[in-house]
Amino acid sequence: MASSSFLRRVTQLAVLPLIGFAVTLLFASLMVSLRLEKAVADLVEARATFIASQMSNVVEAGLRFGIPIANQSEAPRKMDALIGSDTELLTIALFDDTGKPFLVKSSNKTANLDDREIHRLLSKRPSKLGGRVTRAWRVDGEIRILMQARDATGSTGALVWAAYSAKTVQLAFSATLSELFKVSALIFLGAAILIFSLTYGMWQKWEKHVAGSLTRLGDDAAADPGANQVNPLPMVPLTEALAQLANADQALGEVRLKIGDLSI
């Protein structure tokens, strides 16, 4: 039967690896949940970008024929069609070249956009001819896309804003995280049993070996009839260290003898 002090030592030894393992599981669960969230978010963002580019194509087609957005009849129609086709599309809006909202279709009453974002994108030029600068970001449970629509001269004639609901994305994170926490709890339980039993077994053998070593050093109080002569933890060179101590003692003993011989 193991003593309480022995059990306490085993627990102390096992607790650190277990803390490490728990943090690893927690961190791994969080990172994996974020990865899956990102996979879904990328897909929703691709859809939002596609919707914005559809709208932008319509606006650009008008602008290239010299029709200002105020006179474009296709743009409002397209907007209605787009917002009706996808329940996750919360807002689609069109801003003119001064950054003022021109058309807004929204199922989300709180929809708003920072003026700085609009002005910054209006002033940006694409890196390649005929390209559009697009900015995508996530805020307040929405995935937002702001995209340029360019006129025949290549200047930014309007901006298209599409905001998608990020509920699916948040659901992906929370569902995965709660499932992984459950699995992690089970793994941790298994790890606790495994690490505790391995530490118990190894440490019991180690303390028997230590008792054997103490006996060799002449510590009768620690003498243990069941002392183990085999070192169960070879990375601790206890036997070799004790042998070196004995060697040094013997070498000094020889010197002492020689001095003693001379003194006589």
Binding site: Q12, L13, I19, G20, V23, T24, L25, F27, A28, S29, M31, V32, S33, L34, R35, L36, A39, V40, D42, L43, A46, R47, F50, S53, A81, E88, R116, T168, A175, L180, V183, G190, L194, L198, M202, W206, E207, V210, L214, L217, D219, N231, P232, L233, P234, M235, V236, P237, E240, A241, Q244, L245, A248, D249, A251, L252, V255, K258, I259, L262
Partner: protein, 693 residues
């Protein structure tokens, strides 16, 4: 292999299998949970794309243009394919089953291509699926309805979710590594009195005695059998040292007529003393209290900076700055102000340390960093951010240079390279963990919260800084940073050549490869930025795992030159691998080898610099040179990306990689020629002499 070793290996293998099984189980659970969510999102995308394209094609049909007469169909589909990375191919089939257009990804292999064509040409397209692709079928009929005028097919990879899970598995390994390093760092100081730490000390104690180094003492305090044994061993060591002293005294005080005979015995005794190191004052084993505390300070302050790295540029560009500045400039200026004040702080580190004492300096610098970060969390102006970053940069730079100088002082007793490796490991560990934690915090709780956590990390470092031993100016020879000291440093030819041909090329190549060449090369190979991130992690991981070992070995052998040569050659080889293997495995080798190379030479190089200066007896001493060396190194680091950009423009990515490899190889060769005649042991002797004095 003995049975004990075999048993130990079985236990280690069992634990490794358990950890791998746990990670596989997590990945499988993630797949099961995430699969339907990802597939749903994929289906919604295909529906949206299908609807939009159907409207376009039907508009043509409605005005009487037949599908086979439409111009620019390929171009429209190519544009959509470029926009939707999840789509594998588009195909447009006429009403009479003729294939009018096929646009697919170049990455499809011949087998996949064959499968795609087979599916496209299948006459019955109801619920078209295979092991390789899922197909969405969109019928094109026009306003009149009725007979189909054609069909649009959208092909998705059936293993899209598996591809995501493959990435998840890599993420799991990365997460496990980061968590392991984080826990190790955080528990390093907290558990210095734990049973595991005491056992680790006992292991080191026995290793010293096994290698006949009796100049050690355990000083174990616990009452368990292992501590009792170690106390007995301590007593035995004490007795042996006492016996030696006693025998030595007897030989020295022997009567005159016995002196001659005693000479041989004295020689024998001296040999024993040398073999077992009985004549040196015993050093306490594992007494790393001061080093651990400093490493914690370094780790926490570096972590506070690294946490902000993933989101800082985006955050800075979103603040209300001058409208004339582009977002890149808005992001760049605060970063530059941070790096500038950081570099500026380096030469003054040693002077401040001597003027105000180590503890006050460390506490002040950590406070400046922490409060700077907290203020950053609440600032909403871009100009405020620039000022705060400059302030934080100064505090951050000061913490790093103070810690290095203190580590050098500690290292005079415990081994300089080893002490310096503790510092480097703290910084690198923060570099591995910080960005992942910062990204996680910013995504889930917002940037303000991430800045608050970052500030708190630096403020917690104050607690550890307050526990450090305070060394005041009076206790050390005060030398201050001056132009004369710098000139003297610059005049030292060996030191100058070491900086020009080893330190600066190493820093230039590291920053160029890590910040420019690897991210650009991965992008050119069509890989995502997260792949580049994982490759860069290999550099830090290689560095973290090897730096400590290399430093210990360097101290143990009392050699620096071979380590600098090996590190330089490995770094050169890393760049040459990147040039020779123009694929992702080439970049894998580049990052790993560069990390190993820099780990191999980092600490020995800085120790050699300080040793050379200590031995030269000039006005500048090792701590001042350290500041100057770090300043030069930082400017070298800043030059790396600029040089890389020029080289890439002139000779391309591969050429730039080769050029950096050659720069490192030539630098290594010149360094070795410079150091050829330098006697390391002579300097070590001087160091020991200084210690004794």
């Amino acid at each position: 292999m003995t049975s004990a070793k075999l048993r130990l290996w079985s236990v280690v293998s069992l634990l490794a299998v358990f950890v791998i099984a746990a990670l596989v189980l997590l990945a499988a659970a993630a797949r099961n949970t995430g699969a339907h969510l990802v597939i749903n999102a994929l289906e919604r995308n295909s529906e949206t794309i299908g609807t939009a394209l159907r409207i376009q094609f039907e508009r043509a049909i409605n005005i009487g243009i037949a599908l086979d007469q439409l111009v620019g169909v390929d171009s429209v589909l190519e544009d959509e394919l470029a926009l939707h990375h999840e789509v594998s191919f588009f195909a447009l089939i006429a009403g009479d089953q003729r294939l009018l257009s096929y646009v697919g990804r170049n990455q499809l292999n011949p087998k996949e291509l064959q499968e795609a064509k087979r599916l496209i040409l299948t006459p019955n397209r109801n619920n078209l699926q295979s092991e390789t692709f899922h197909i969405r079928t969109v019928e094109l009929s026009g306003e009149s309805g009725g007979i189909s005028k054609g069909t649009l097919l959208i092909g998705f990879p059936a293993r899209y979710i598996d591809k995501q899970v493959n990435v998840v598995v890599i993420d799991l390994v990365v997460a496990a590594l980061i968590a392991f390093i984080l826990v190790t760092e955080l528990l390093r100081y907290a558990t210095r009195h734990s049973a595991l730490h005491e056992f680790s000390r006992f292991r080191e104690f026995t290793q010293h005695i096994k290698s006949r180094n009796f100049g050690v003492q355990g000083r174990f305090l616990a009452v368990d059998p292992t501590s009792v044994l170690s106390k007995r061993m301590d007593e035995q060591l004490h007795t042996l040292r006492g016996n030696y002293q006693e025998l030595l005294a007897r030989i020295e005080h022997a009567p005159l007529h016995m002196k001659r005979s005693m000479l041989d015995i004295g020689t024998q005794l001296q040999k024993i003393a040398d073999r077992y190191k009985l004549n040196s004052a015993p050093q306490e084993i594992g007494n790393l209290g001061e080093t651990s505390r400093l490493r914690m300070v370094v780790f926490l302050v570096a972590l506070s900076d690294e946490i902000c790295r993933p989101f800082f540029a985006v955050y800075a560009s979103s603040l209300d700055g001058p409208i004339a500045l582009s977002s890149e400039v808005l992001a760049g200026i605060p970063l530059t102000s941070f790096l500038f004040t950081w570099a500026l702080s380096q030469p003054f580190g040693a002077t401040l340390l001597r003027r105000f004492g180590t503890r006050s300096c460390l506490v002040s610098a950590a406070t400046v960093t922490g409060l700077g970060m907290l203020a950053t969390a609440i600032t909403d102006t871009w100009l405020g951010l620039v000022v705060l970053r400059a302030l934080t940069g100064f505090g951050f730079g000061c913490v790093l240079i103070f810690s290095q100088a203190i580590m050098l002082r500690i290292g005079r007793v415990t081994g300089r390279a080893r002490a310096m490796a503790e510092f480097v490991a703290g910084v690198v560990a923060a570099g591995i963990c910080g960005p992942a934690i910062g990204g996680l915090l910013a995504v889930k709780f917002g940037t303000t919260f991430a800045f608050v956590v970052s500030g708190c990390c630096a403020l917690i470092a104050i607690v550890f800084a307050m526990g450090t031993k305070d060394t005041r100016a009076a206790e050390i020879t005060a030398k201050s940073f001056s132009a004369k000291a710098v000139v003297e440093t610059m005049r030292h030819p060996r030191l100058l050549l070491l900086m020009i041909f080893s330190a600066i090329p190493g820093k230039i190549a590291s920053t160029a490869v890590l910040l420019m060449l690897v991210p650009l090369a991965t992008a050119e190979m069509g890989e995502s930025p997260s792949v580049a991130g994982r490759l860069l992690l290999l550099f830090f991981l290689g560095f973290f795992l090897v730096a400590g070992f290399a430093a210990k070995l360097s101290d143990h052998l009392n050699l620096r030159k071979p380590f600098i040569a090996a590190g330089g050659l490995l770094s050169a080889l890393a760049c040459l691998c990147g040039y020779a293997f123009d694929n992702i495995w080439g970049l894998f080798l580049t990052c790993s080898l560069l990390g190993l190379g820099q780990a191999w030479l980092s600490s020995p190089q800085i120790i050699l610099v300080t040793q050379i200066m200590d031995a030269s007896g000039t006005a500048a001493d090792s701590e001042l040179v350290l500041g100057f060396y770090r300043l030069v190194e930082r400017f070298g680091g800043a030059l790396g990306p600029v040089l890389a950009a020029v080289l890439i423009k002139q000779i391309g990515l591969g050429g730039a990689m080769l050029a950096f490899g050659l720069i490192l190889a030539i630098g290594c060769l010149v360094t070795m020629l410079t150091l050829w005649s330098y006697k390391e042991n002579a300097t070590a002797y001087l160091e020991t002499g200084a210690q004794a004095a």
